[in-house]
Symmetry: C2
Subunit: 215 residues, 2 copies
DNA sequence: GCGGTATGTATACACCGTCCACATACGTTA
DNA sequence: TAACGTATGTGGACGGTGTATACATACCGC
């Protein structure tokens, strides 16, 4: 377990930092990106900000509090990745065709983020603190919707275009989410970990197809 | 974060312990059961075994190594829970009906374990070390099959009884597993965390139905 | 009965999160 | 403009962790 911990900003001329909270948050995000939630270590974040360990406590109540802030940022970035995928896949489609493309985009965007930003993705789901998950602007994308809400919207459209009977709409989010989230987990640190990316994409597409067919 | 760490066996009359490896493993299992993978702390395990911290290194190369051993035990117990569910649900059924019951039992057994032994379940999937997952007797139930193999067998039966076309058999494990595993995750430390158990069981049944319909 | 090896002990190190007391600079108000 | 209160960063300490290295003890095969 070799650790290579170095300061980005070893010495500061001013006594005050300027924007330490943001600096710590960004250090935390960088750590999470590289190593997941466990890699977010307070002392290292302060080191990178060029500040003494305890300075962090002026801006975050605890390590957990910093982690929570990083988590919000990760969820927000996830939402943006999903939005980008939606915009791309939906182009030029209408009605049921658009609804299908939309739901697929939600799934593939989710997986794209999970597989490319593994550390942040794992951080985003590293704690049971989901209270306030719905409707927190800090966790949303540019549309103002968080990942969960993007999925909900896609499913609403499924009902509107007659692809899903109203009777099966309730809790449908969780069916779809379960499949895609579980798949991501199995790839990230499960039995699919060593499978080549091309195969992963193929199986991922089948997972999304399963959701469409089985919802 | 109050910690109540006490020795089970504070003083030993003999210099040798007798079966320290087992004692450490069982302490590790107890810790994991109560608090998940992060709760497995080497020093506490040795404390419970009534032994000095470094004694652990005679039996486990590192904390990670102990964690790995606990993980195997957890997977084994998961397999046994699934086997019990299979035996229960399959009773008196044959052919396609038995195959369906079998697959459902695999899913519900998995969920039963995930929701009742949360700490062990989270430990079972706490690391990307899935090399050797398939076919390790230490991770199997009484049938000699591990959780993955139990699922595979259930899907084979789906093909044999004509419930699933051979063309869609490859990698079907991962589709089914994704859905159920993801659902478990969303319940354990996701947005379904606060939903009452009765509702969870209902949605869980729909997840399994989705798999059957969409496979 | 002896010697080697397996097992447990003692001591120490670096790292972590966090508490407390202190120092410095900034903003407000007189 | 000077004084002061408050926000922010520092210094030092404590108990916790995993783990390395050197030493002590007991068991086992000859």
């Amino acid at each position: 377990m070799t650790k290579r911990l170095r300061s980005k900003t070893p010495a500061r001329t001013t006594y005050r930092h300027g924007d330490l909270r943001r600096a710590l948050l960004e250090a935390g995000i960088a750590l999470a990106r590289a190593g997941g939630p466990d890699a977010i270590v307070l002392r290292e974040a302060t080191r990178r900000a060029g500040v003494v360990p305890n300075a962090a406590y002026r801006h975050f109540a605890s390590r957990q509090d910093l982690l929570e802030a990083v988590r919000s940022a990760a969820l927000s970035e996830l939402a943006r990745t999903m939005e980008a995928e939606i915009a791309k896949m939906r182009r030029g489609k209408t009605g049921a065709e658009a609804a299908r493309a939309n739901l697929r985009a939600v799934g593939t965007g989710y997986l794209r983020f999970a597989l490319s930003e593994t550390g942040l993705f794992r951080t985003a789901f590293a704690t049971p603190e989901f209270r306030g998950f719905i409707g927190d602007p800090a966790r949303s994308g540019e549309s103002g919707l968080n990942p969960f809400q993007l999925l909900s919207k896609a499913l609403d459209e499924f009902v509107e275009t007659g692809l899903l009977p109203v009777s099966r709409r309730p809790a449908a989010e969780f069916l779809a989410w379960s499949a895609v989230h579980g798949f991501a987990m199995l790839v990230i640190d499960g039995p699919l970990h060593t499978v080549p990316r091309a195969d992963i994409d193929g199986i991922g597409a089948r997972v999304i197809a399963m959701v469409e067919a089985g919802l």
